[in-house]
């Protein structure tokens, strides 16, 4: 993938050729272009032009893109790459500071890393993070320069595992489309009938409450559950407030590394190409972001470990039954059905500030079914892929007056109350201790006992269960692993 535009006729050939060159560049350490020697203290030697990604990527092209994305994910960025944001805050919309900072890193307000891997590495690259790698999430508008761990200023969060993230995003896209279609159908029906129409919102077996549409088009959203009123399923971050890997990657690159993607922080939306004032214009191109997205989107789905120990196998089998019997599966659904594995980039539901489908001549698209791990996913008799995420991509109240450990935060995030979180996917949970959104539960038993609010009944059932049932449940959860 090279700079500059190319004719459509030779695009395919040039893209493969370009890809090969880029691979050579990244792996041999040989500088392709520019004046920087191979030992130069920078990670990004060349930016990817998004137009070279447009259309359907072949298996080889996808592989190359993923390798570049992996390089960006593991690279140790420097100020030569634009690491640091002396004049910008961590906010997800471009927000300037009044006074510059004096240091590239700040443990609390950020930037707090020089590479993505430093937080996403348990059990392997792309996984979750330990308590040591917790991030302090704040909006970045007022009090953006906090230097305290006081929860009045930030929400302390563990890093989630990215394995299976591509499937999660594809599920979210399909669910959003289905919910909006249900809404639009109700709008049309109400206009036609002249009567209010109430529609129960449900997709892939997950209920999101209901909405009522008046004949004139006014909508009553008071019956919605677990989703934003624009009916976009936002499956990323602990609270489920970000719609796409692309949006999240741009947020994180700015917040944690101070590397600003031009599609949000560039001239079009800020008037300048060096918004963070570090003398590095256009730090991350749309093509670079696509590479980072591709790396994450193609991380395999976590799987199941078959223990060598026969006793464990037996306990796990029984534990899976207990999981359902106690009601855990009501939210931690073992499977959600996915209709297709084609990943398009940009995503369909992002808003201005993240590259949108309508902003490119053709989106890039790649078929996750090209990947061996995706081919091995189970399917139902309708041909749908059964994504074994043990989640529902829905937000729930998870604390109440009596059991409140998961209601520890003081700050709401993006209109979502402080004690509401998205159901954590349990695939891979056996590999990603510690647990909880703050990474402060060392055992699965502990975090289960902290469930409350909408999960209180299941939690009580767990507490009241026989010790052996609880143990078997743990045995089962421990088989849900990220395979090396």
């Amino acid at each position: 993938m090279k700079h500059g535009s190319r004719g459509h006729g030779d695009r395919r050939q040039s893209r493969v050729t370009g890809a090969a060159i880029c691979v050579a560049f990244f792996f041999s350490g040989q500088a392709l272009a520019g004046d920087a020697p191979p030992w130069a203290e920078k990670a990004i030697h060349d930016h990817i032009d998004f137009t070279t990604l447009e259309g359907t990527l072949s298996a080889d092209e996808l592989k190359t893109l993923v390798e570049i994305g992996k390089h960006l994910f593991t690279a140790r960025f420097t100020i030569a790459d634009g690491l640091g944001r002396p004049m910008a805050t961590q906010a997800i919309i471009p927000t300037q500071r009044k006074h510059p900072t004096d240091a590239p890193f700040r443990r609390t307000a950020g930037p707090d890393a020089n590479n993505c891997q430093s937080c996403h590495n348990i059990p392997v690259l792309g996984g979750s993070g330990d308590f040591t790698a917790n991030a302090f999430i704040s909006e970045g508008f007022e009090s953006f320069d906090f230097d305290t761990l006081d929860p009045q200023f930030s929400n302390e969060r563990g890093s989630v595992s990215l394995f299976g993230a591509g499937l999660v995003e594809l599920l979210a896209r399909e669910m959003t489309a289905e919910l909006r279609a249900e809404r639009d159908h109700a709008v049309a029906a109400a206009r036609q009938s002249g009567e209010p129409e109430t529609v129960a919102l449900s997709t892939k077996g997950v209920d999101f409450g209901e909405l009522t549409v008046m004949p004139d088009g006014l909508v009553d959203f008071s019956g919605l559950e677990g989703i934003d009123s624009d009916l976009t399923v936002r499956p990323f971050s602990q609270k489920g407030v970000f719609a796409s890997l692309r949006q999240f990657a741009i947020n994180a690159m700015n917040a944690h590394l101070g590397i600003e993607a031009s599609e949000r922080f560039g001239k079009r939306w800020t008037g300048v190409d060096d918004f963070d004032g570090d003398d590095r214009p256009d730090e991350l191109s749309p093509g670079d972001v696509s590479a980072v997205v591709a790396f994450q989107a193609t991380l395999p789905a976590p799987g199941r470990m078959v223990p060598d120990d026969a006793g464990w196998r037996e306990a796990a089998a029984h534990g899976e039954k207990v999981f359902a019997d106690l009601g855990c599966a009501a939210c931690h659904r073992p499977f959600l059905p996915l209709n297709g594995l084609t990943f398009t980039d940009p995503a369909p539901y992002d808003t201005a500030g993240t590259l949108r489908t309508g902003e490119v001549e053709r989106p890039a698209q790649y078929d996750l079914a090209l990947l061996d791990w995706a081919k091995a996913l189970p399917r139902n008799d309708k041909g749908q892929i059964l994504v074994p995420l043990f989640g529902d991509l829905k937000r729930h109240h998870i604390a109440d007056g009596e059991v409140n450990q998961l209601g520890n935060e003081l700050l709401a995030q993006r209109f979502v109350e402080r004690d509401v979180f998205m159901t954590a996917e349990l695939w891979g949970v056996g590999s990603t201790a510690p647990y909880g959104h703050r990474n402060d539960f060392t055992t699965l038993d502990g975090v289960i006992r902290a469930h409350a609010g909408e999960a209180r009944a299941a939690r009580e059932a767990y507490v009241a269960a026989e010790e052996s049932d609880r143990s078997d449940l743990i045995a089962f959860l421990k088989t849900l692993v990220i395979e090396p």
Binding site: A177, D216, G271, A352, G353, G358, E361, F415
Partner: protein, 559 residues
């Protein structure tokens, strides 16, 4: 020195004479809307015509007359009949209008210069105040775009004057709106037209359960007004009446602002109070809170320089001392920005709006020779000045596609196809109406979507149901964008309906409303790219969903 004075000083010295000019060649970093003219294709074939009396005027009223929330268009015609076009556009699609009969006598639709929509009797149906050469009309709205002439019913004396301006406000303690009518030259007075300006009038409603506008008050002296605007210029909670006057015909006149205090006779702001003498060919008034400090700035069109009036920061905020900042901000728009005609421009309608949804206000000015004035540009395209982050503006009329060499008069920036992007309708003298659909930002392969947006509708359960005078404050991060609901201003042109706000890259926003009586609402949390209704007293904002387009593209057509 105040921060703002310092900022402006730096701007002037930094920009010098190079960048801020009609020939400003600065590139526009933010989106320029791709405005596609499609009046005929949309079914609008209309012209504003007539002799001397119709050199001025030529307004449009954009409002919903049939309850579907699509803005319909009432177009002044001059000696041609005024016409009402019902909006039949598909959501997000091409513009489509159908001419409809209003159910009022043809005679009343002749000699119309402009119109302003407002719900005078708070019955939920928009009424229309029609400005004419001769008897002005109050048209009481009925369902399905039908109207009744309500002059008798409302005891409104339409007069016989050459009416060119209008504004309205709801005064505290009065059951219906106070109307201000601006008149131009008294053609019958001896020595006309020089120094013979007809009186303007203030119509205050009498107590009662229906509008009664008997016994208006003359606003003297009057100076051939072409635009008026009730405006709370100093955050006092009481609107004053700003009047822009045409020095072509007055003698000894100037720009004016009237105290219109509840229960008291109107009186002019005086020099002793700080009102500075300003004499221009005043054609249009636009207001906006450009600096986010609650104090509006005013764009006054004229022949030659447009004025941008900002409250002087060195003075007490209760003193209406205004400085002109048009030059440092790049909005003088003094001559055509394209073509070979280098003579001074003639400006008419002015309007602040966010045409590219980047969160910054832009400024539209319609332009065109009065008729054949030899000292002024004959080829004089309308301006579209794109707001920048440093508070300056850069001209983009030509790349936007609106640089038609027509004589623009009244206009409206309004979302006609409910896609969140502001479209543009311009009434032209002796030329077809221009109807521009905003298709997004142009790229080599087509148009791409603009920034995020919101459109807000307010409702009060009491009188003044549409909350005229309310301030809508939209907060995204550390950035706040304010809009005020007004009736008046522009050039003979008014709008009612959703108030548009661009949000740039913000995915969500918090809205607060300062209702006309001064009470602030709590914060309403809303997601971007939605039509929002805020009803006073309700805990949450409601969304309104337009009819889905006929062909829904996956992941695209719905919001």
């Amino acid at each position: 020195m105040s921060a703002r004075a310092l900022f402006l000083g730096v701007l002037v010295s930094g920009l010098g004479a190079a960048a801020v000019h009609a020939d400003d060649a600065r590139p526009v970093p933010n989106d320029i809307p791709d405005m596609h003219e499609e009046a005929l294709a949309a079914g609008i074939d209309h012209k504003y015509s007539g002799p001397w009396e119709f050199f001025v005027g030529g307004g449009v009223a954009a409002f919903d007359c049939n309850g579907d929330r699509l803005p319909d268009l009432f177009l002044a015609g001059g000696t041609n009949p005024a016409e009402l076009y019902r909006n039949e556009s598909e959501t997000g699609g091409g513009l489509r209008f159908e001419k409809v009969s209003m159910g009022i006598p043809d005679e009343d639709l002749s000699r119309v210069l402009g119109a302003y929509p407002l719900d005078i009797d708070d019955d939920g149906l928009m009424d229309l105040v029609v400005l004419r050469l001769g008897r002005n009309l109050i048209l009481k709205g009925k369902p399905d775009c039908q109207f009744d002439v309500a002059n008798s019913a409302f005891a409104f004396d339409g007069g016989k004057d050459w009416t060119t301006a209008f504004s309205a406000t709801w005064e505290k303690g009065l059951p219906f709106p106070t109307l201000a009518v601006g008149n131009y030259v008294d053609r019958m007075a001896p020595g006309s037209p020089w120094g013979t300006c007809a009186a303007n009038y203030l119509f205050r409603p009498h107590p009662g359960d229906k509008p009664n506008y008997e016994d208006p008050t003359a606003l003297q002296p009057s100076y051939c007004s072409l635009s008026m605007l009730f405006t709370d210029w100093n955050q006092s909670g009481v609107a004053s009446l700003r009047v822009t006057n045409d020095r072509q015909y007055y003698r000894g006149g100037e720009e004016q602002m009237w105290h219109v205090d509840p229960g008291k006779p109107p009186r002019l702001y005086t020099a002793a109070e700080g009102w500075r003498h300003l004499s221009i060919y005043g054609m249009g008034i636009a207001q906006a809170d450009l600096f986010g400090n609650g104090y509006p700035v005013y764009a006054l069109t004229s022949m030659g320089d447009t004025k941008l009036q900002q409250l002087d920061e060195e003075s007490d905020t209760d003193r209406p001392v205004y400085d002109d900042i048009a030059y440092p901000l790049g909005v003088t728009a003094a001559r055509p920005y394209t073509g070979d005609d280098v003579r001074p421009s003639t400006g008419w309608h002015s309007q602040f709006a966010d045409v590219n949804n980047d969160g910054l206000l832009d400024l539209f000015i319609s332009k065109g020779n009065v008729e054949a004035m030899p000292d002024f540009a004959a080829d004089d395209p309308d301006n579209l000045l794109i707001g920048q982050w440093d508070k300056t503006f850069i001209e983009a009329g030509k790349p936007a596609g609106i640089a038609l060499m027509r004589r623009g008069r009244g206009a409206a920036l309004v979302d006609l196809n409910l896609d969140g992007m502001l479209d543009l309708v311009v009434v032209n003298r002796e030329a077809p109406v221009s109807l521009f659909r905003n298709r997004g930002a142009k790229r080599s392969f087509g148009d791409i979507p603009l920034g995020n947006w919101l459109e807000v509708e307010l409702l009060q359960p009491t009188l003044n149901r549409n909350a005229v005078g309310a301030r809508i404050s939209v907060k995204t991060g550390n950035h706040t964008m304010d809009r005020t609901v007004t009736v008046g201003g522009g050039h003979a042109s008014g709008q009612a309906g959703f108030i548009h706000v661009g949000l740039g890259t913000a995915e969500r926003a918090e809205i607060r409303v300062r209702w006309p009586d001064g009470e602030w609402s709590h914060s309403y949390r809303v997601f971007a790219n939605n039509f929002v209704r805020i009803e006073r007293g309700k805990p949450d904002a409601e969304y309104w969903l337009p009819p889905p387009p006929a062909e829904t593209k996956p992941g695209e057509a719905t919001q």
